[in-house]
């Protein structure tokens, strides 16, 4: 086994380990919120699309790290984007919680009765259609930018791989590969959380749905505050 393959294996197992130890605590609330918002559909397809998006973003970041070998410079550069992603995650979860609980008529305001113009209005209309399975791919792409300690650690390794590799193309590929296997390692734990929280027959009970909505709003506020402080 080459040193790169050994590193891939290390980060695949790291992703798996931090998935159950770290991601469930930090990113689990997002997955729970999305799964709760899927009223009637199965949770697996949307969640898998979300993870494909998230891992694609990791791979792009890994490729950039591999090409440049400059972890701190790149992360400083994308700091604003990460802050924005965290605030966006908070807002979208709050909106989904409010919409799911029936406290704001997202569909009436943005979806069913008007065709709003302008970027913000159109964006909110998109938010109201978040129950569409396809929407989870761009959501994953965006939320792959969420700041996360273990992701940073993997990016440091990707940057280190880039510095060790002579050929830029190979450096990009190795950085992308490392971040991809790391991301894949984190998927089982989050899918498990999604599956548990998306048990359809329980979600059909009104009181549970309301409690879930309140929890979502709490999580959204938590992310919003974290994002503003980041």
């Amino acid at each position: 086994m080459s040193s790169i393959e050994a590193l891939y294996l290390t980060f695949l197992t790291t992703g798996f380990a931090v998935g159950f130890g770290h991601c469930i605590g930090m990113c689990g609330p997002i997955v729970v919120s999305f799964s709760l918002n899927l009223k009637t559909k199965g949770v697996m397809a949307p969640n898998l699309l979300y993870h494909v998006g998230r891992i694609s973003t990791y791979a792009v970041l890994g490729g950039v790290m591999g090409a440049t070998g400059a972890f701190t410079r790149i992360t400083t550069g994308i700091g604003g984007l990460q802050k924005g992603a965290m605030i966006f995650a908070g807002l979208i979860i709050i909106l989904m919680g409010l919409g799911m609980g029936g406290w704001i008529p997202l569909g009436q305001i943005f979806g069913n009765y008007c065709r709003p113009e302008g970027i913000i209005a159109r964006s909110f209309r998109k938010l109201s259609s978040i129950q569409s399975t396809a929407a989870f791919l761009p959501l994953g792409l965006l939320l792959g930018l969420l700041p996360c300690g273990p992701v940073y650690t993997a990016l440091i390794a990707a940057a280190g791989l880039g510095m060790e590799t002579q050929n830029t193309f190979n450096a990009v590929l190795s950085g992308m590969g490392l971040m991809t296997v790391f991301g894949i390692g984190t998927v089982p734990s989050l899918l498990m959380v999604a599956k548990l929280s998306g048990m359809g027959w329980l979600k059909s009970r009104d009181i549970i749905y309301k409690i879930g909505s309140i929890l979502m709003i709490g999580v959204g506020i938590y992310f919003l505050i974290k994002g503003l402080r980041f």
Partner: protein, 163 residues
């Protein structure tokens, strides 16, 4: 109510007559949701590791003993900030015939993935290398540098960093 058989209540989804198992599972489900969405993030943040701090990296070096050796850790530039390139220097005194030590960076009580700083000898028992302490969005600032001297063992320096 969650476990009453109120069929008069209007609801878009047809309500089923709940059994005892349904009530139990509903309770478990709510508990699980509460755990994943509220308890885990809060406990991840609230656990106080500040009592474990044994090193003030912002104002000088820190020393620990390992098998008769003094292991001195220095991190620069000071104050020590996360997400910046840092120079780690280890000085070993009292023992000259050792392999190159290395440093593993992590957080007490939270898995952050492998982050190893490899050190190279500068002569006279002094070893240095560069690394980065990453920022944890939970807000926790207590970090741990585990210095391992091959065939001798390891010591832990626990300190806070600036985000």
């Amino acid at each position: 109510m969650l476990c009453s058989d109120d069929k008069t209540k209007s609801h878009p989804v047809q309500m089923r007559s709940p059994s005892r198992n349904t009530c139990l599972l509903s309770g478990l489900w709510i508990g699980m949701l509460f755990f994943f969405t509220m308890i885990l993030p809060i406990t991840a943040q609230a656990t106080d590791h500040s009592r474990m701090i044994n090193c003030d990296v912002h104002h000088g070096t820190c020393t620990q003993k390992l098998q008769g050796m003094d292991i001195i850790l220095d991190i620069s530039p000071k104050p020590v900030k996360a997400m910046t390139d840092l120079k780690f220097t280890i000085t070993l005194t009292g023992e000259q015939d050792v392999s190159e030590p290395f440093i593993d960076l992590g957080m007490p009580g939270m898995k952050m993935g492998p982050n190893r700083v490899l050190l190279k000898s500068n002569g006279k028992g002094i070893y240095s290398g560069t690394g980065t302490i990453v920022r944890c969005p939970s807000g926790k600032r207590i970090w741990k540098a585990t210095v391992t001297v091959p065939d001798k063992g390891s010591v832990e320096f626990i300190f806070d960093v600036i985000y």
